[in-house]
Structure formats: structure tokens, C-alpha cells
Symmetry: C2
Subunit: 344 residues, 2 copies
DNA sequence: GTGAAAGCGCTAACAT
DNA sequence: ATGTTAGCGCTTTCAC
């Protein structure tokens, strides 16, 4: 038991101990069948004895890959990452995730960092400004890129998105079904194409029953801060005829609504994009439009894998369906029990 | 504008175009001051013209680092990652995060993957079983390891933890102050040392006023599933004298409690470990013991950096304070407005 | 079936 | 101040 800082053994050490050439060691660890059984055993013994583990940096450099998929997301708690990581792992890849706060400068730096590490593919949740030109250059070098949640502005890459318009339709129809006549929408900044699509879909529905002139006072979008969302909710409620229900554009917006008005939303009905953990226990329980984040993450990774082996495929867009998770007095409590699993 | 899959330029290409030696290119990109201004300019021009970007794999192989810190966490949404990533970025490092579901086999695989990539350091949120022996071998090779949230079983590594006992004291005292006499505890499985520490601290407090015999019916721990937590809450409430308040061991347990009993917890008072986004809007608003996750993540990374330059420092443990976030009818609403910022 | 040797794209001596 | 050269630890021809 030598203590202190021992040099890590290399393949050469293994070869020497096993009295074979390094190429033989390499063949053994790569399961090359042409190695004789006795040598293979000697090599395995030496590996065991030295506790040798391959240096992936060297392997990657030599083979021209990195065994890594880069993920560029707004925040490390981005729900897409779980599915992507799982899919990456089953493909023998690791996920190198970096967050950008959806800031253009950080995003550019993050993408460049990942490219310098020669990631084998890139999943990107694009911010508003976009890293378009640079990314296109990388794609020309053969980098598979999959946008997630929304396409990369001005860039033709694979992408996985949800059916935003359908989600709004589900929410809108649900509220109509509950008898609401005047409904308002509060969403994220329309610089994000997702938010824009949702707001637009809402406007289209509102026009079915309301005059065009009132639209600007039914739809409020902007950066999601408690202050701005609160102000816009107040503004929406001040409009006559007053809205009796709200459609929120994403989880963060819903949260702001609750924090601004309280858990009961002062009696307002609300259906939001994105499920949240306590939606079922609020009074009343809240119906939501749920995205399948796990599937989206996995789909993004799958698109990258596909493009790795078929680089010349036409650009694909995968639309993952959303679904309405109905909750409320009229719905049996049991129906929601599978929609959330406990993390730790 | 050549299209198709162009080979990425290398440093040799840059050198050739600039009519200098590769070492000169290397010096320029590494800001070596000894390069003459005219050559430096030629090199920069060539880099620009070719759109060359260094291959970090090669650089890392040569310099013996990886520019990467591994993070092994139970789930990718682990709140520690944000702080750790931020700190890593300002140190010029990237964070390679892998999730384990706190499963021993996955944890072992994850750690080994990261070691084969020769990460410069490892942050690990240890599962129950522990990867002790293997990790000790890696540490002998000089790998800086920082455990986060709880120490690695049987392994003397740096660690950053919270003051679990003090957190329980804060919760307990708060409830005593509100007039509660009988209080129960529901927590995570005591295989996790954090959960064990919290349960033990609770037992110590309960013993101040209750007979030892009743302890087993005041403290319930186990895996956090809605079913088990629900069952244990029911069991706790069936004990006479009946508890009028609950201390929950972590966010997941609190969530289960709400989902089992409803938002009002059937009138029960509750203080939980970990803040959660809607704690303030529930009726009544819920007081919590908040951990400073960002600080913990940053502290773990800082311990690694410290050990990188002073490998022989004695093992350190950093205890990050917890704080009671009081919420309730008697507290002005404004006081909580800074405790949650909106993500996205 | 096995070994010797040439790289992968960089950095760091060591020359000059 | 600049160039030449020997690696980092692997994989992969190419010989035998």
C-alpha cells in the first residue's frame, strides 16, 4: 500500500506488466476477438493489479469524438435535462450542461466552450437573441444540433417543440366549457417564440367572441417578474367586461399569479401552461396544460443520434403533444396521483 | 463559401497560413508576451480567416487537466448544481453533471465515468451505500473530492453540510412558541445521514417534554413516497395525545404531506426543512427551514479549488447555516418577497 | 495472433 | 524572438 500521490498507471504500464505490446492491451479493452485467450488473461490481470482505467481524453482525441453531448439551457434545473441525460446515458454518452439565463452573451460563450471541447452534438434551448451565425458555421463542420422548446432564430436545425397552439386551445376550451366568457392571457416575453406562439394562439381564440379592439387588453406578455406579472394581472382585471379566468403562459407566470393574488386567485379561474407540483392540492385544484419534458429531452437527443449517422437528412421538427390535466371539484382526486412522482 | 463537411482547421493549418511555427501559434493563443507584434498579428489574422478554435481535448491531454469538475447528484434538478456551476464558470471550469437517483450502482458507474475523463475534481451528493473504496483510491491519485449535503460514508473527504440539528431546533422552537405541545416528525430514510441527523435532533428535543416510550410514535422516517409518508402521517395523528404540529424532513416530504392532507393539512401546523416556491401563498402560509443551496454548491467547488493547489491540507468540513423563514398571519407579507426569484 | 510505429492536435522543453 | 522536436495516452494501420 504505497501512499502519497501515485502516478496513474497508463496503458504502457499495463503492457509492460503483462509483457505484451500496448496495441494488444488496446485490443483487449476494446474486446477485439483476435487476441489469444492466454494473453488476454494476462492483460486483464495486469489491468486489475494496477487498477488501470483508460484515459478517455486520449481515446477521444485519437478517435475524433468526445463521447459528450453539450446541452445549453436557460437554467440548470431545466426540465428537459432529465430526459436528455437518460437518453444520453443509454447511448454511452455524457451530457455537459451549461446554463445561460437565456442571455445572449452567455449563450454564445457556452456554445463556443462546448464546440472547443468538440462535443459530438448540441442540444440548445435558444434564448431570444440567438447564436445563429456561429452555430451555422459549426453545423457546416458537421455538428449535429437540436433545438429544444423553440427553434433557433434564423437557423435551420432539427428541433423539438410542443404544440403551443393546441395547448392554448385546450386551455381555452376548458375554460369556455366551465362557462367563462371573458378570459385574459398573461405570458412570457414574446421575444421567445414559444411565448409569442402561445399569445398568438390565444388572440386567435379571443377574436372568435371578442372585438379586435379589446385584444390588447386581454393579452399581456413580458419578462416574468413578480412585479410585471402582478401589474399586468391588475391591468387585465380592470378591463370591462372583466375577465373571470386567466390563461398563463408558463409555470413561472402561474407562480407569479399565485404569489400576486394568493392561492385562491381572488376567485379567478386559471389554466396555465406547465404542470406544477402543488397544482392538485390548491383550493380549488388547478387544471394545467402539461408538457412532456422527459419525452422532449429524449427526442432532442435522439435527433442528434440520428443526424450523427445520417448527416445529410433533411431538417426535422418533432412536435411533442401536450395534454390537459384536468383538476377540480368535479374530477376524482385519484386521477392525478400518477402525474407527479416524488424526487427524493 | 465552401459547403459540405469541411475538415476543422488545426493549429498546423493556422501556422502554415501565417508562415510561422505551430509553437508560435500556441504562444499567441496562450498570450505569451515574447511573440513579436507583427507575427502575432499574422497569426491572429490566420486564426480569424480559418475560423480556427483550439481543440480542448488535445490541450487537456497534453497539460494533464480536463478543465472539468464532475458533479454526481441524485437528480439533475439538484439545487446544489446552480451554485456549483456558477462557481465553476468563474474558475474557467465546466461542470459535468450526472444523476444517480441515489442508487449505489449508478453512482459507482457515474464516478468511474468521470474519473476516466480525468475530471479535475469531483462534487458528490452521496447516496446511502457509498462509493467509498473506489473513491479513496481516486483520492490517493490526487483527485480532489467534496461531498455535498452529507459526508461520504466511511470516507474522509472535504464536505459541505448544513447544521441539521440547528435547523430542527429552529423548527421545534418555532412550533413551541406557537403553543404546540405535541409535535411529530416525518422524514426521509435514515440511511441518508442527513435524514438521520434530523430525526435524531428531533428525538432529542422531544425527550425534553415527552417520555422516551412515545418517541417511536412521534418520529417516522423512510423512503419518500406519497404512500409511505401518507401512511406515517396517519399513524402519527392516531397517537394520543395527538400531535398538533408536524416537522417534515425535506421538501419532498413536505410535498407528500400536502398532497396527503390537502393544502390546509387539516388544521395541522407544519414547519419543513427546505423552502418551496408556493410556501408563501398557501393558507396558512408555511414557515420553513431554508438551506442556502447556492452557497453550498459554491462552497463545494471552492473546497475543490483549494485542494487543487494544496493537496495536503487536512480534511475540512464546512457547515453552512440554515435559517428559519417565518411566514404566517402575524408576519407582514413583504418580508418574504425576496426569498424566491423567478426562474425563466 | 501479435508487435512496431505513426499519428490525433495540442504544449513545453530545448535549441538557436 | 522564433523554430524544432518530443511527447500527453491512447487507436490503428501495417508488417510479420
Amino acid at each position: 500500500m504505497t501512499s502519497g500521490r501515485a502516478r496513474r498507471p497508463t496503458m504502457v504500464d499495463v503492457a509492460r506488466l503483462a509483457r505484451v505490446a500496448v496495441s494488444t492491451v488496446s485490443r483487449v479493452v476494446n474486446a477485439d476477438t483476435t487476441v489469444g485467450p492466454e494473453l488476454a488473461e494476462r492483460v486483464r490481470g495486469a489491468i486489475e493489479e494496477l487498477g488501470w482505467e483508460a484515459d478517455e481524453r486520449a481515446r477521444h482525441l485519437r478517435t475524433g469524438v468526445s463521447g459528450t453531448i453539450g446541452a445549453v439551457v436557460g437554467d440548470l434545473d431545466s426540465p428537459f435535462l432529465r430526459g436528455a441525460e437518460r437518453a444520453a446515458r443509454s447511448a454511452g454518452l455524457m451530457l455537459l450542461a451549461t446554463s445561460t439565463d437565456l442571455d445572449a452573451a452567455l449563450e454564445a460563450r457556452a456554445v463556443s466552450s462546448l464546440c472547443r471541447r468538440r462535443v459530438d452534438g448540441l442540444i440548445i434551448e435558444p434564448g431570444a437573441a440567438g447564436t445563429g451565425a456561429y452555430l451555422r458555421a459549426q453545423m457546416a463542420h458537421g455538428l449535429p444540433v437540436a433545438a429544444i422548446d423553440r427553434p433557433i432564430p434564423d437557423t435551420a436545425s432539427d428541433s423539438v417543440v410542443v404544440d403551443n397552439a393546441h395547448g392554448i386551445d385546450l386551455a381555452y376550451d376548458h375554460l369556455l366549457g366551465r362557462g367563462h366568457r371573458y378570459i385574459a392571457h398573461v405570458g412570457d416575453t414574446e421575444v421567445l417564440s414559444t411565448a409569442a406562439a402561445r399569445a398568438d394562439a390565444f388572440r386567435r381564440r379571443a377574436l372568435e367572441t371578442e372585438p379586435r379592439g379589446v385584444l390588447a387588453r386581454r393579452v399581456f406578455t413580458g419578462p416574468v417578474t413578480l412585479q410585471r406579472v402582478g401589474r399586468d394581472i391588475d391591468a387585465a382585471l380592470a378591463v370591462r367586461p372583466a375577465p373571470t379566468a386567466l390563461v398563463t403562459g408558463n409555470a413561472a407566470t402561474s407562480t407569479c399569479a399565485f404569489r400576486h393574488l394568493g392561492a385562491d386567485l381572488a376567485g379567478l379561474d386559471l389554466v396555465g401552461f406547465d404542470d406544477f407540483e402543488l397544482a392538485g392540492i390548491l383550493d380549488p385544484p388547478r387544471t394545467v396544460v402539461a408538457q412532456d419534458f422527459a419525452t422532449m429531452g429524449a427526442a432532442a437527443l435522439e435527433m442528434i443520434l440520428t443526424r450523427m449517422e445520417s448527416p445529410d437528412l433533411p431538417v426535422r421538427q418533432r412536435v411533442v403533444p401536450v395534454r390537459l390535466v384536468e383538476r377540480g371539484p368535479s374530477v376524482t382526486v385519484g386521477s392525478e396521483s400518477s402525474s407527479w412522482t416524488m424526487a427524493r
